[in-house]
Symmetry: C2
Subunit: 319 residues, 2 copies
């Protein structure tokens, strides 16, 4: 296959992004069982909760899976200890300096992937010895880069900047977008939004439904003075935009955000007052299927689109 | 070939976008002569100047070319009269309601294409009888949609919303991005930024050089309270962002913009105080080649990338 399927020993280079409140062991193991790579999102978990999820994921599938760790969270040291103790073999780090933990993890024989929003960060990752990078574009849900580079522009820029395999993320929900990303230089894709609205996602049912019902133009990159985050349109999001329109600063935005708003929205289902992190790809989705079906369908669509090109439709009929 | 090459009677479905101050007859005729579709950008022209450009374009190439008309400009009626009088066969309209001029132009036997930033606008275009739509994403230079939908997400959304052929724009500078766009459902591509930095572009030499020298993260979508526009980083752009950070309103931004700032920057070469409209694709370009060479290279790269898929590299080696 390619460097990404070899690196993780998986069947398809399709990765389910680790997402706060949405990706516990049920989702990760379903994706891994289907031949992709599932990631447990540790950001919404205490060290003990993470340990339980890792154990259940191991029991539930013999296939490789990983854990996503945002490096700016306060409990990182405890989280890393649990990861090592439980024998996790793959860690995706994000939101922080890849220098901090890469050599620690690599010494334990763990594969390390870091998420970047730009080519210069990818070069830093290569310098500190990560195994692959996720290049995540402006259209992605949740926390996002300040450069606002879209996936279409970002993939070739990162491809050119590093020799490492590149995993594309942001705006990808199906097999055609996967093939497009591969043509631009990616060797794998990471999908978050698509898996939020899956049966095994631990997102609240009302949040999943709101994602499936959403349309084009329903997400906004806000909180740019604090840390840019892409949210689904709701009462809270509208409030943030009102604050920003009149020039509110970081402190004011922080107070407006308060505590636990992400949990309230995504996990507890207060879809008006909670924070709902989601990407632009939500507009492309209408259903809430099992995660394994998502993996299979992406791969099927990817193969079909490749066949169209092979039959010459990419040149004679379409180009 | 496909519906776009048939519609315009051109060799390659590669269109050079009509751009304020950059796309006169020299650029349009060079692109058309190379087998693409060149567009004269009328936004920076009086009716008389446009007439002269159309005549020179006809003298310079026997191949089809078109004129781009932003519908919100004050001189639209005069511009349309010149287009009809001079026998122009292709008109791309933008920035306004497609209902206003489509039937007038179609009755004269002119092909009409409208530029849209979202699927709902594409459906309106189809209803009023345009021949094709340009789906232009967030990464595009110059004036831009409020939905901020990126090209990767926009193409399939527009593809699904209409039966019309879709031309993809925004973030496309090479043949790989062109193939990616075709896989997502486009039947042609429109490039602006790539042609700004071409030999025949009427952009000032210093602006072209600044585009060629620019890097990732050097463009910003600003003026959102007025009309969103993507600009290249410079002193003026920094000033706008400062104003916006403190919550400046539309009137204040309008005063800061003043008159003729686009001409000053893009045509007269005041690259610090002028307005420099450019897309994210600028980061992918390093040279200022002849426009015909750009068309040939895009097509070559497109064919090479298609061949890679045909040889199975899209599945066995890369996927």
């Amino acid at each position: 296959m390619n460097r990404i399927t070899e690196l993780f020993n998986i069947k398809y280079p399709i990765i389910q992004g680790g997402m706060v409140w949405c990706s516990g062991w049920e989702l990760a193991s379903a994706v891994s069982a289907a031949g992709g790579l599932g990631l447990i999102g540790s950001a919404s978990m205490s060290a003990d909760v993470l340990r339980a999820h890792i154990r259940k994921c191991k029991e539930s599938t013999g296939r490789p899976f990983g854990v996503n760790v945002p490096l700016l969270y306060p409990d990182v040291e405890k989280i890393m200890r649990v990861i090592v103790e439980e024998g996790v073999k793959i860690v995706f780090t994000s939101a922080g300096n890849p220098k901090l933990w890469t050599s620690f993890l690599k010494e334990k024989g763990i594969k390390v992937v870091h998420v970047v929003p730009g080519a210069k960060y990818a070069a830093k990752c290569e310098a500190v010895g990560v195994d692959a990078v996720v290049a995540e574009g402006f259209e992605a849900g949740g926390h996002n880069g300040r450069e606002e580079t879209t996936t279409l522009c970002l993939i070739p820029l990162v491809r050119e900047a590093v020799k490492l395999p590149v995993i594309a993320a942001g705006g990808i929900a199906g097999g055609r977008a996967m093939l497009a990303a591969m043509i631009l230089g990616a060797e794998g894709v990471q999908l978050g939004t698509r898996f939020v609205a899956s049966r095994e996602s631990s997102a609240h049912a009302d949040f999943k439904q709101k994602v499936a019902d959403s349309a084009e133009g329903d997400t906004f990159l806000v909180m740019k003075k604090l840390a840019p985050v892409r949210l689904l349109r709701n009462k809270f999001c509208a409030e943030v935009m009102e604050f920003e329109n009149r020039g509110a600063g970081a402190d004011e935005l922080k107070r407006l955000l308060g505590a636990d708003r992400d949990r309230k929205g995504m996990f507890e289902g207060d879809v008006e007052n909670g924070e709902l992190e989601i990407g632009q790809a939500a507009a492309l989705m209408k259903n809430i299927p099992p995660a394994g079906e998502i993996v299979e369908n992406i791969w099927k669509e990817f193969c079909q689109a490749s066949e169209e090109i092979k039959r010459g439709e990419g040149r004679e009929d379409r180009g």
